[in-house]
Symmetry: C2
């Protein structure tokens, strides 16, 4: 399964890597990919919106909800 | 007191905020300022290179050592 989240505040590859790392640190079994242009993060194999949101916010970006 | 660290991989304000947040999460009593142009982070009131390095690396950036 795969969940897609909207994330605000990412503007470059450094931001993308930071969000990716934050989610993987919180959920080590997740596979994470960031689409900078769409401002979206895809998390595969894990379904935990709460921890994803917390990881994104704690790393300094804006969790803007589930896309699908 | 104040310590200055070199940090690689920060290219925009989103990166800077991410590094800042990571250090503050790890060391809530620290005051943190990021100089994007110099690729440096200043941490005031706390002297703990190990935790600063860990926070920077875990947030997806490169800890490159103490400047002063």
């Amino acid at each position: 399964m795969e969940k897609i989240y909207k994330v605000g505040g990412m503007t470059c590859q450094g931001c993308a890597r930071s969000v990716e790392n934050a989610i993987i640190n919180a959920l080590p079994e997740a596979t994470v990919t960031v689409d900078l242009e769409k401002k979206q993060v895809t998390v595969t194999d894990i379904n935990n919106d709460t921890l994803v949101a917390k990881a994104i916010e704690e790393s300094g970006f804006d969790y803007e909800g589930v896309v699908s």
